[in-house]
Symmetry: C2
Subunit: 556 residues, 2 copies
């Protein structure tokens, strides 16, 4: 590069980084994924806005050809490879195994339905959308794939912002998005193979190559890497040597897959998956790579998208609407249906469906390649980018709507139900507990005998009377939500031999097995409701079940 070209190169790269990161931070503040801001920054700096206002300056700073353009593209290429290594590192194979069934249904239907929804119309009407004759199969396969790959990084970010990343729904969404990603990339590389072989029959060789690469990587590469990682961390400079190792391995795999016609990023992503899966990789190493790549290189890639195309001139409202409707309809119904088959409730399934709906990273990369290869035209590319932006923007608000509909059972107010308050004259512990467990068991739909046995076996271990007059039998069982039933005996009864004071109030608490903290919180909440001295006495005199329920609620 000449002196002038170096100046332009430096100015261009600092402007790109500044605008991408600035709008990225603005969108983060708005609780939206930063990637949306980064893509919009590109549209602003590209031919769409800046290029329309001041075409000469835009053309000088961000030239479409020449040395500066070549070097910038090379750096963006390296940035995408780094981004894909990091995306691969984020894939947690163990998580998929754990959330197996639900994740499998969610991701499979969440891919198949949008794929079909994209494939069929674009196969039959490919010519209307600018595909060349004879290319309609590749075009339709591409559209199907582009509509069916969820954006793992965007989804992870959205869940993090919504504080859902570690929740049950969050884990299912992430696990499904990972499966989706893995299969999406295999689809992706098959299509790339077809593109690079011009759609001819030898794409079968390409597909064979992909599976050969995956087989070698997982059966030879994975065990080797798993042994190398701890050795490198132990014997050589830390974290320097492992950082370099990850990039050398990622770049080498990228070179191999690129040479095999599958595209560099597939190899980079897969190396990320394999290295990230090694339990020996330290969190610090992940963090350094993650921070550097997502804050320096990824923004350079996402902003570069908008620099290539005029989003106004190539905006085809009909096409954009079709792509949007097919994408959202296909993904939300597909993933939602899958989640429902996996045992989720309706609002949970809808939350998962919209959680999986974010598109953004992969199909844009795919779209760029298809654009370069002439499979799609600018209008289709613009429609895909707009679809990515809209689906990512819509994800968090839509999830919030369905989350609100989901009934939660985490506080006494949410759990205590006047219908589960009984006035009893039974005056023997076993009889009182039997009445309570019977009532709860019929509501929770599980065996009353098992519940009774479980409660009684706990009783044997320790007497559940902490406050005089209140007995608190409880158990953890295979229930989906916690249950509380209350039995009031106005006269009081002798709970056990050791306890001399009569018990007036017997509160049964049954919690789900997998939520031990919730169990303890609820126990503490019940006890806390009787911290005032005469609380039990006055409560026992109440005859209205709603008032009794309200007593628990008011204190918590």
């Amino acid at each position: 590069m000449s002196h002038n070209e170096i100046v332009i190169f430096l100015v261009a790269i600092s402007i790109m980084l500044f605008f991408a990161r600035f709008l990225g931070e603005v969108f983060s503040k708005l609780k939206q994924p930063a990637i949306i801001g980064e893509i919009i920054a590109g549209i602003l700096l590209g031919p769409t806005v800046f290029g329309n206002i001041w075409p000469e300056l835009q053309g000088t700073l961000f030239p479409q050809s020449g040395n500066v353009s070549l070097v910038l593209n090379g750096i963006v290429q390296l940035a995408v490879i780094m981004l894909l290594i990091v995306s691969g590192l984020e894939v947690n194979l163990a998580l998929i195994a754990k959330q197996g069934k639900t994740a499998f249904y969610t991701s499979t239907l969440g891919m198949v339905i949008p794929f079909v929804a994209g494939f069929i119309p674009f196969y039959f009407f490919s010519n209307s959308f600018g595909a060349n004759d004879g290319d309609n199969l590749i075009f339709a396969l591409f559209m199907g794939t582009a509509l069916s790959i969820s954006a793992l990084p965007v989804i992870a970010r959205t869940l993090m912002d919504m504080n859902l990343l570690k929740s049950e729904i969050g884990v299912i969404i992430i696990a499904s998005a990972i499966v989706n990603d893995l299969f999406g990339w295999i689809f992706f590389s098959i299509i790339i193979g077809m593109i690079s072989s011009g759609g001819s029959a030898n794409y079968l060789t390409q597909i064979g190559g992909i599976f050969l690469f995956l087989a070698v990587l997982f059966f030879i590469g994975k065990p080797v890497i798993d042994r190398l990682v701890p050795r490198i961390q132990r014997n050589y400079s830390y974290p320097g040597s492992i950082l370099s190792f990850i990039f050398i391995a990622g770049l080498t795999a990228a070179a191999i897959t690129e040479a095999a016609g599958i595209h560099a990023i597939f190899g980079a992503f897969m190396i990320g998956v394999v290295v990230g899966d090694s339990s020996h990789l330290k969190e610090e190493t992940r963090e350094i790579i993650h921070q550097f790549v997502t804050n320096i290189f990824a923004p350079l890639f996402f902003i570069s998208i908008g620099l290539k195309v005029d989003f106004v001139a190539n905006f085809n409202p009909l096409l954009v609407s079709i792509v949007l409707v097919l994408a959202i309809f296909g993904k939300v119904t597909g993933s939602g249906l899958g989640a429902k088959l996996g045992g989720m409730s309706n609002p949970e399934a809808m939350t998962i469906g919209f959680g999986m709906n974010s598109r953004g990273a992969m199909e844009i990369i795919l779209g760029l390649l298809a654009l370069q290869a002439g499979i799609i035209n600018e209008e289709v590319f613009v429609a895909l980018v707009v679809m990515a932006l809209v689906t990512s923007l819509v994800s968090a608000p839509m999830m919030s709507i369905f989350l609100a509909k989901m009934k939660k059972f985490e506080t006494l107010t949410q759990i205590i139900d006047p219908k589960l308050i009984l006035f009893t004259t039974r005056n023997e512990k076993t009889a009182v507990i039997q009445e309570l467990t019977g009532t709860v068991a019929s509501q929770a739909g599980i065996s009353p005998n098992r519940m009774f046995d479980e409660v009684m076996s706990r009783e044997a271990a320790f007497a559940p009377v902490i406050i005089p007059g209140l007995a608190l039998p409880h158990a953890k069982l295979d229930v989906k939500r916690p249950w509380i039933a209350i039995s009031v005996n106005r006269k009081g009864y002798r709970y056990s031999d050791e306890i001399t004071e009569p018990v007036y109030l017997t509160v049964l608490l049954i919690s789900p097995k997998d939520k031990p903290e919730l169990h303890l919180n609820l126990l503490a909440g019940i006890v806390g409701a009787f911290s005032e001295e005469d609380a039990i006495k006055s409560l026992v005199e109440t005859t209205d079940k709603v008032s009794i329920a309200a007593h628990f609620t008011e204190r918590t």
Copy 2:
């Protein structure tokens, strides 16, 4: 880039990264700076070795022209800018202020002498070394500067490996290297200004520009940055936003200085200095940038050096010898003399001289620019790189030699001197202590009265008899090393009113004020020498001073 070019690009970059990091780690294992391994890796992969064995393959993988070469050079350019930002971050302005005097002398003479040593011969014999007529001033200025800039990153690494980074000598070396660096870069940019203005008179404008840039940066930029850093860290994503900020600022400054004809890396380095000086910058941010840049980007730069030139074909033994002798002679005598003026002993000054001798980063960058600008030819460039390698390699072993010569006073063996053992008949505390302090004071070259007063004022605070028969008066004073003097009174004397047992042995310990731990260690060591019951009795009967000294030595 075409498909094939992308493959070559990826293969080239992974090979470069692998060899650079691998040899870098090998040299680290050998307790040598990694940068040496990285440069040698380039010589191996470049025209010198690989290109001689298999020129076709070498030319394909690492082409000297075309798209791949252009993109690789662009990435190396970005790598150098990143490296310089990191180097700037490592500059600790507060350290210089603290080590002011010694660092000032060491760095000033350590620059002036090698500069003169380089300037004079190359000014008068410039034509013999390939400089064009009329270019002899720039050529000689360049050679002087190239010989006088120490390599801060190499020095820091060497000191770290030798476990000297936090020692007094280490801190002086680092502080001097920082001053050296700052001035070196100003020299550097002046010469670059002269090169880019073709040596014409308008280089004065360039020099003005440099000082204007520095003035704006330090008087406006520094306070602004110092207020921005904590705000960015607080209000935006951490560490993402501050990472991006540092690179955006670095790249912008690089663009400004490049546009002004001073060269991009000057701006990058200075932004690093200013940002790194902000006390608000968190250690974690520094660490992420440091690790990523030194392990991914810096190696790509250092290996690229060897890829450009044939080191065998351009090896001029006479020139290499001259450059080596001038560089080592100039730097070691210059820095050593400076250190001596700053109050260091001879072996300390030599250690500092060889510590400052490492060259490696800056003059190679400078050399590359001069090579591109036609100021120097390949032979001079090769001589500079060889000089950088040799000086860096030689640094640690030479420092070890002089460190060993430096007499240390840290153990009783090193401190107790038979000449400071007295047999006395004085039998009064004040008289005995006066005799001891008088002896030590004459040796240590300080006032006997001050020492006596100090010891007696300690006496008043607590009685220094821990073991019966042994008195241990002691004080901390402005001495350079600890002193021990021993007085033996065979008959014993009454030390004070409270102590009834006679004292036979009076041991005076005087330690430097700034080493309180050493003082305690020595006290403990003296007491420890008399842990056996009759030790004092048997020692008092000895008439040989060497045996008495040996008694202390054997026990410790």
